[in-house]
C-alpha cells in the first residue's frame, strides 16, 4: 500500500454552503423570536404597575393638597380634612413591625443557614416559615385579635405591629437563609482559619457579605405588609383622631382607604384614591431611601 502523507490541516470551513446559510438563518430567527418573547414578557410585567400608578395619579392627585398631609379626617357632612393621622399611624405600626420582625427574621435565617444544617429543628423552622408565608392575612388578624386584643380588652397599635411583624418574618427568614447560602464557603473558612469563633464568623463575615440581598428581602417584606389592611382591622382598628400611643387604637392608611372606599360619599372616594397614591409613593420612597443608605460606604471595585 502506498503511503499517503497525512494532512494535519482541517478542510477550510466553508460558511457559504447552502446548509450553513440555512442554519444561520434559522439560528438568527430563533434568536430574534426568543428575544422578542423576553421583551414581551417584561412589558407584560411592567405594564400593570405603570397602569396602576398612572390611574392612581389620575384619580387621586387632584384631591391631594396641603391639608391632606396636615389634617385629620373631617366629620361626615363636612368637606376637606386629610389623612395626617393615618400616615403617622401607618409609620408607627410599621416601625413597631420592623423593629420586631426584622431582627427575628434575620436571626432565624442565620440559624437555618449557619448552624442548623441538617438538624431536625431547622427542617421544622423552615417548614413553619413556608406555611406561615401562606397564611391568609385575615387569619393573621383574627389570631392576633384573640391572642393580644382579647387579652388586653382593647385594640392597639402594638397588636397591629405584632400582626404585621409575624407576616414579615417568613419572607425575611427565607431570603436571609438563601442569601447566606450564596456566600462562598471559602470566605467562612478564611475567618475560621484566623481563629474567629463561629458565631462571630456568621455575624461579621457571612451576614455582612450577604447584606445587600438580605436588605432587599427586608424591603420586600416591609413593602408587602405596608399595604396590608386585613390584619389591622381587628388589631390596630383605626382611629379618626390623632393617637401616638402603642396601647390605643391607631389610624393606618390602608384602613382609612378601606373606610373611605366603601363609604357612599363621592368626596371620600376621591380621598381614598389620594390615600392610595400616597401609600404607594411612601412605600416607594422608603424602599429607595433604605437602598441609598445601604449602598453608602460600600467599597467600589469589589466583585
Amino acid at each position: 500500500m502506498s503511503t499517503q502523507p497525512i494532512s494535519n490541516q482541517r478542510p477550510p470551513l466553508d460558511l457559504q454552503t447552502r446548509s450553513m446559510r440555512l442554519n444561520t438563518a434559522r439560528r438568527n430567527a430563533t434568536n430574534y423570536f426568543i428575544s422578542a418573547l423576553s421583551v414581551l414578557a417584561t412589558v407584560l410585567v411592567i405594564l400593570p404597575l405603570i397602569a396602576i400608578l398612572f390611574y392612581l395619579i389620575y384619580k387621586g392627585a387632584s384631591s391631594l393638597n396641603f391639608a391632606f398631609f396636615t389634617h385629620i379626617p373631617a366629620p361626615v357632612g363636612e368637606s376637606g380634612g386629610g389623612m395626617a393621622n393615618s400616615i403617622v399611624g401607618s409609620g408607627i405600626i410599621l416601625l413597631v413591625a420592623s423593629l420586631m420582625g426584622i431582627p427575628i427574621g434575620i436571626a432565624a435565617g442565620v440559624y437555618l443557614a449557619e448552624f442548623g444544617r441538617g438538624k431536625p429543628l431547622a427542617t421544622a423552622v423552615r417548614f413553619t416559615a413556608d406555611v406561615l408565608n401562606g397564611v391568609p392575612s385575615i387569619v393573621m388578624g383574627i389570631s392576633i385579635y384573640s391572642l393580644i386584643v382579647l387579652q388586653q380588652k382593647h385594640f392597639s397599635a402594638l397588636a397591629g405591629g405584632v400582626a404585621l411583624a409575624i407576616m414579615m418574618v417568613p419572607t425575611i427568614t427565607r431570603t436571609t437563609e438563601e442569601m447566606l447560602g450564596t456566600v462562598p464557603h471559602a470566605i467562612r473558612e478564611a475567618a475560621l482559619g484566623l481563629g474567629v469563633p463561629k458565631w462571630r464568623t456568621a455575624i461579621s463575615v457571612s451576614l455582612r457579605t450577604a447584606s445587600p440581598g438580605i436588605i432587599t428581602g427586608c424591603m420586600l417584606a416591609f413593602a408587602r405588609v405596608a399595604g396590608e389592611t386585613a390584619p389591622l382591622l381587628f388589631t390596630a382598628f383605626g382611629n379618626q383622631f390623632w393617637s401616638f400611643k402603642l396601647n390605643e387604637p391607631i389610624a393606618a392608611l390602608p384602613l382609612q382607604i378601606y373606610v373611605y372606599a366603601i363609604s357612599p360619599y363621592d368626596e371620600w372616594h376621591r380621598l381614598a384614591w389620594a390615600g392610595s397614591l400616597v401609600l404607594i409613593v411612601l412605600i416607594m420612597v422608603s424602599v429607595t431611601l433604605v437602598r441609598i443608605f445601604a449602598n453608602r460606604g460600600v467599597l467600589k471595585g469589589g466583585s
Partner: protein, 252 residues
Amino acid sequence: MGVGILVEGLNAWYGSTHTLQDINLPIPANHATALIGPSGCGKSTFVRCLNRMHETNPIARATGVVKMGDIDIYKDASPVEIRRRVGMVFQRPNPFPTMSIYDNVISGLKLNGFRNRRILDETVERSLKQAALWEEVKDDLKKKSGASLSGGQQQRMCIARALAVDPEVLLMDEPASALDPVSTSKIEDLIFQLKSQYTIVIVTHNMQQAARVAENTGFFLNGKMVEFDSTHKIFTNPKDKRTEDYITGRFG
C-alpha cells in the same frame, strides 16, 4: 518565633472514608516542610488537621496526637485558640469581599475584638511589608476592596492577613496553584524569607517548588505518608520505590 510540631499516629476520616492512616511526622521549627503527592492522597486533609480546620466539616473526625511545642492541640486547647496560633493560606485567594485591604489584613484582630488604632495601623504595615505587598497597595489601603486586587496580590494579602495575628506556624495549602508564574515566584521568595520567623508547612503539586523552598519533604500516597526526609534526599536518593516513581513522573 516558630514552634515545632510533632505528629504521632494521626488518623482522619470523612464520613466512612479513612483519608489519613497513622501519620507520624516531625515538623521542625523555623523550617519549611513541603508535602507532595498525587491529588486526593490526603495532603490537604493533613494540614487541615494541624489547625483543627478538618473538624469544621460535620462528617469529618480525627484521632491521634499533634503536639505543637508542649501542647497537644487536640487535648489542651480549643480549636479557636489553635487557629490563632496556626495561620492558614488557602489554595484560592479568599479575601473578605466587603472589606477594604486594610480591614482584610487586620480582620483576624478586629473580629476578635481588638480595637487599638495605633497597633492596628502598625500591624497592617508590618504584615503587608512581610508579605511584600506594602509598596503596591499603601495608597489604597482603605479606599479599595480586597477583592479588587489581582489574584497574586490577593494571595499575598491573604498571607499578610494570616501573619497579622502573629502565628507561630503558617500552613499553606497549594498557595500558588491558582497564580501565574510571576506571582508564584513572589510567593516562593516570601516563603523563603518567612521561615526565619515561622514554621512553614506547604502543600504543593509542583515538585520544583518543593525543591526550591523546603528543607524537608514528605511524600503522601493514598492516605499514608510513604517517606519523609530532607528535600535533597527525597529528590536525589529516595528510599522508597513509590517515591522514586512519583518524583520521576512515572505516575501521579
